[in-house]
Each structure stands twice: as structure tokens, then as C-alpha cells.
Amino acid sequence: MAFERNMDPKKTPMPTQDAEKRSHNFEEVALGYTYEMAVAEARRCLHCKNKPCQSACPVAIDIPGFIGRIAEEDLQGAWEILSASTALPAVCGRVCPQEHQCEGKCVRGIKGEPVGIGRLERFVADWHNAREDQKTEKPKANGHKVAIVGSGPAGLTCAGELAKMGYEVTVYEALHQAGGVLVYGIPEFRLPKAIVAQEIEGLKKLGVKVETNMVIGKVLTIDDLFDMGNEAIFVGSGAGLPRFMNIPGENLKGVYSANEYLTRVNLMKAYQQDSKTPIQRSQKVAVVGGGNVAMDAARCARRMGADEVTIVYRRSMNELPARKEEVEHALEEGIAFKTLSDPIEVLGDENGFVCGLRCIAMELGEPDESGRRRPVPVKDSAFDIPVDAVIVAIGTSPNPLIRKTTPGLETNKRGCIITEDEGGLTSRDGVYAGGDAVTGAATVILSMGAGKEAAKAMDAYIKGKNQ
């Protein structure tokens, strides 16, 4: 080894935009490591023989491998190792829940902080993406055609893998822009849209066709896609159907699903000064829920000018399902957390606008099936939070459109498409599925993993059929 190991128990800190300043803009919060920081952080890795970190990465990146290259200042080598396992490292490095995955198993985390694996992944990807001399060679066509429904991480990954094998790939996307949750949900300040755009450009260079404004099930059905000569189809339509609380007042003006709010702000660019997208400029906002979606909605509301933003969550701070870093950033930005509270009614004024959120206090009882302690209501504990907007971020489920228009496609009682195996084969011959459409709302990296496995299975299926 040509370098000295860095035994600092703490991660090299990530430079970030000042919290007060960033609460008023949509520029990226985490600025990324410099070269020196990356090398220093990489030198904290112990290169464990049994690679516990790798086993906790859903796409099994050779983590000590790529980190070792950074430590040796060989970024090209690091990139090659990374890109062998993941199609979107610039995305995953930013949004993976690392504390539950790779970093959660890092040996250095036992006595101090784990190696900043996600930050290093991002660093290498950004380094690579900034270079101009990237060549993508269009693979040799193999004469077979496939279709992908949905352009989220699952669909894009599947498309990329199949294109590299020589398939003629068309991605069909319902919205006017490709990228799935990466463009309509996750905000600019956490995942710059330019990164997603660059990934999609990369796919186009591989020959992938991306057709927007194509709601499959409406304009074309899955069966139409087969009639058009596609030999296999991947469904990566996500879990975009918002759940509501079913409490009185939920249809008042100023109550948004997180999907609506985030779509207006992100996809439809209400965050830009001269935007044509209508949005309320709210002063006091309550966001219901405790996941990444809730954090994103709260932080967007703050940036749209709200003075007071409160996360209302049924359990305690310890159970928040959001990425740890997002919770920390939200706290720094002055987002208030009203935990152990459950909304029971949205209050409205005489014009039908929201003026408050009535909640009851909760306490934690016995553990439920998820292993987390179940919140139970405290008697006579109702209280009101004065707000002029409520954003509901309590979860989503798969959209029924494809299920309803595809005879023979089986789903479970939660509306998720049932798949037979890792490869994502559904109950319909030649139809594969993966990502949130199968699992319900999950993560970017799991969706990508599913897209990749499905691509292999589709390739095997088509080859088998044509023998």
C-alpha cells in the first residue's frame, strides 16, 4: 500500500451550503468532496477481507475495491469498478439510505463513524460525469425489440442493460419528462435534475428511444406493445398513487398530496421565479408523515417561503423512516418536528381554505408486526396547529392503470404486481416487472437492482424463445 491509513474515527465532513442561505434557494445542499477530502476519506477504509459493506449493498458494489482505487488516486480505476455494478452511481451516492445499507455494516462504524461510502461513490461519479471525453459506443444491434413502461430508476436501468446487449429499446413514459420520482419527486437541492438528464442522454446515446406523453394502458396497452413487435416488456411504473388520511377537511383548499406539491414545485418548476405553475405561497405548513417524501415536501415548503414548517409524525424521532442525513438537514433548516402526534381533522376558514390541523397526542405501546412500537392515542389530548397548508406524505401505492388494462396480470391485495422470481417474471408470458410497482414504495437502489435482474431474465427469455 502506497499510502498511510487515516484512523480518524469521524467521517470527513461533507461541505454543505449554509443552512440559513439554503433555506431560500433550491441549489444543492451537499456540495461534494474535494479531491483531497475524497482521498482522505478513502484512506479510512480497512479493506476488510469479508467485505461486510458489500453484502449490505443491494447491487453488491465492490466497495473496498473502488474505495481502494480512490485511496491510490486512481479515479478511472475506481469508476470502472463502480460502473460494473451500478448504472446510476451519481444518484445512489446521493440518495441511498446508506445508514441502513452499506455504511450500516461498515466495520469502522463500530467504534466511530463508518466510511462515507455514499459520498465517495458520488465523488467518483461526479468526477466521471464532468469529463468531456466520455465515449459511448452504440452496441451492435441483435435484431430484437423490447419495451419498457416507466422511466424511473427501474425502467432506466433495465433499458440501459438491454441496450448494451444490443436490443432495440423503447421507454414509454406517461409524463412529459423522463426520470420518474427522480424528476417529479426528489427536489433539485438533493438531486440536481442535470444529473438525471445526463443519465438519460447517456441512454439515448446507447440507442434507447424515450417516448414521453405515453400513458400505457390508455394510448397503448401492453398487448398493443406486443403487437408492435416487442418480444418482452418490462413494467417499471412505480408506486405513484397517493394515500390520503380519510379525515374530515381533507378536501379543503390548501391540502395537497406530497405528489401534487412536489410535482408542482419540481417537475413543473414552481420553484423558479417566473414559473407559470400555480402554487400557494403558504406561511405555515404542516407536513404529515416521517419518510423521505415528508422531508422533501417540508424542505420545499420552506424554500417556497414558509416561515414555519412542521413535520407531524405518529411515532417518535427514533422511528423516522427518512434518511438520517435528510432529517439532520431538515432540522438545520429550522423544520419543526411534532412527533407522537396524529391528525384527526383539517380545519377550514369560511372560504374553504385550510386554517389549522387538529391532532391528538400518541404514546408508544407494544411493538407491531413491523417490530416498531405501535403508536396509540392519548385520551383527551386534541390540540390544534395553526397552518395555511397541509401536505399529506403518508405513503403511496402502485397505480391500478396497467393492472386494469392488462388481462392476466396478477397483483396482490396492495395492488403490487406479483412476480415469480428475482428476474421479475409476472403472471403474463413475456411481461416482467420491478421496482416500486412490485414492492410498493421502496428505494432507488432496489428499483435499479430489480431493473437489472429483469434485463437478464428478459434476455434469457428472448434467446430461449428464438432458439
Partner: protein, 281 residues
């Protein structure tokens, strides 16, 4: 990109456009709609498919110029292209088995009512059409309705054309004359649909209305288009836009439709100023 092949003003504020969209034309059915964005970065706006020609691969839209989005669309001309145009969205109207139907249209709602009336006529049903407008200048689709209806009535608020009165007056008259309708289709401003429903409820006639809440995606993703129907929350873009009018909470829908009034007024002014400058410059 979706090319405009025909553009025709129907009155001072309503325009008809025929747009090249072969895939949509192939699947479109009465009751369905499209969502367009006139220019990159425009808002997403729903419009009913007023007609379609499967052979020519075209879709007709008829829209009232009310605010920024529709003004932008109206700046485009034959040969220009609409940036985004997606559909057919929504559930087609259920028309099977209907023998005698009153179709009631108010204002630009007539554009939404027309394809339903036309299909019913083609199916061999008796169509009694009633169309209402504020005044003579605003009358649209008169000949189109005449061609497909067995009884046709035009009413205007001020009596400047057809009979003076409201569509509800004309409908009640037809009912009182002994016409027994399997169903009434009412499409127009919310307030009009509400009053038609109050009337038909009195006579116990099933009434279908086409709801037009504020929409974004049109696929069930944002929940912005939600309505209360029979005490349940429904998404107009996927569960509708047609609903049993006797179950719809119109008062709530009217409030929700006004959610962005202030913003829209500002946008409208800006757009007007912009156009004014172009004209002067």
C-alpha cells in the same frame, strides 16, 4: 410534437383546433380528454376530446380562452405544433343500452357534451339536446347539434337567441311534456350542473355530469382532482370525469376550482400584457 392541422374560432373566446395525434385518435372515445402543454414549461391543461377521426389520425379540441394556458394555446396556428399532448385519459362515458337521452350543455360545456350526443345518435338512441349560452355571440356548435338530435333547443340568458331562459327551464318543459328519459347528461359550469341535478332528482331521472376539477397528471398520481362523490373521495381523472350527478358534492367542487384564482388573475394579466406588447412591437 403535435401539429395543428386546422384552427377555427367558433366565437370571440372559443377556438376549435384539429390536431394530428394518430395514436390518440385510434383509441379515443366520448367522455375522454387529453392534457396538453402548449409550450415547453407551460402548465398542463385538460381538454375534452370533442371529436376524432381515426382514419386521418386527428383529434379535435374546442377550448375557451380563459387564462394563461389557453391563451398560449391560442397563439399557435395551423402548421405549428403543440409541445405535449397526452391521452386519451379518463373513463369513456357509459352509453350502452340508452334509448332516450337528454343532453344538456352549457357554454363551452357544449364541446364536451357534443361527442356524447353524437355517439348516442350513432347508436340509434333518441337525443334531445339542450344548449344554453349567456347571449347570441357565444353560441357554438349549433349546426353540429342540430344534425344529430331529434329535439334541439337553444336557450340564452338574455333571450338574444333561441328561447330566453336557463337550460333547466327547457329541460323541465320537455319532462313536463311527457318525455321519459333513461338518463340526462349535463355538462357545463358547475353551478348549471348542480341545478340540473336538483331538477332531475325531483323527477327521479338518473343524471350523469362531467366534472372538470384542476388536474395535473391525469393519471391518478397527484390527487389534485379529487372530489367527494357519495361521501367517498374520487379522482376525476381516472374514476371520471363522468359521475352520478346526484351524488356529487358540487359546493366542495366549486370551492376547490377556485383554489388558484388569485394566481390565475395575475397570470392572465401578464399574458395579456405580453400579447399586447407583441401586437404593438
Amino acid at each position: 410534437m403535435f401539429e395543428i392541422v386546422k384552427k377555427e374560432p367558433l366565437n370571440a373566446t372559443v377556438t376549435k383546433m384539429v390536431v394530428k395525434a394518430p395514436l390518440i385518435a385510434r383509441k379515443a372515445q366520448p367522455g375522454q380528454f387529453i392534457i396538453f402543454r402548449a409550450l415547453p414549461d407551460s402548465e398542463r391543461i385538460p381538454l375534452t376530446i370533442a371529436d376524432y377521426d381515426r382514419e386521418k389520425g386527428t383529434v379535435t379540441i374546442i377550448f375557451q380562452i380563459v387564462g394563461r394556458g389557453t391563451m398560449e394555446l391560442n397563439t399557435l396556428n395551423v402548421g405549428d405544433s403543440i409541445n405535449d399532448f397526452v391521452g386519451p385519459l379518463g373513463t369513456p362515458s357509459h352509453l350502452d343500452g340508452l334509448k332516450k337521452v337528454a343532453v344538456v350543455g352549457g357554454g363551452v360545456g357544449c364541446a364536451i357534451a357534443y361527442p356524447v350526443a353524437k355517439k348516442l345518435h350513432k347508436m340509434g338512441a333518441q337525443v334531445h339536446a339542450i344548449t344554453g349560452f349567456r347571449n347570441k355571440e357565444l353560441v357554438i356548435l349549433e349546426q353540429d347539434f342540430r344534425d344529430i338530435s331529434d329535439v334541439y333547443k337553444i336557450v340564452t340568458d338574455d333571450g338574444s337567441y333561441g328561447e330566453k331562459g336557463l337550460v333547466t327551464d327547457a329541460l323541465e318543459q320537455l319532462i313536463k311534456e311527457g318525455n321519459q328519459y333513461d338518463e340526462v347528461f349535463a355538462i357545463g359550469p358547475l353551478i348549471m350542473m348542480k341545478f340540473v341535478c336538483l331538477l332531475t332528482k325531483k323527477y327521479g331521472i338518473k343524471t350523469v355530469v362531467s366534472m372538470n376539477p384542476i388536474m395535473i397528471d391525469g393519471t391518478g398520481m397527484c390527487g389534485g382532482c379529487r372530489l367527494t362523490v357519495g361521501g367517498e373521495t374520487k379522482f376525476a381523472c381516472v374514476d371520471g370525469p363522468d359521475f352520478d350527478g346526484h351524488l356529487v358534492d358540487f359546493d366542495e367542487a366549486m370551492k376547490r376550482g377556485a383554489m388558484y384564482r388569485q394566481f390565475e388573475a395575475r397570470e392572465r394579466e401578464e399574458e395579456c400584457e405580453l400579447m399586447q406588447k407583441e401586437v404593438e412591437g
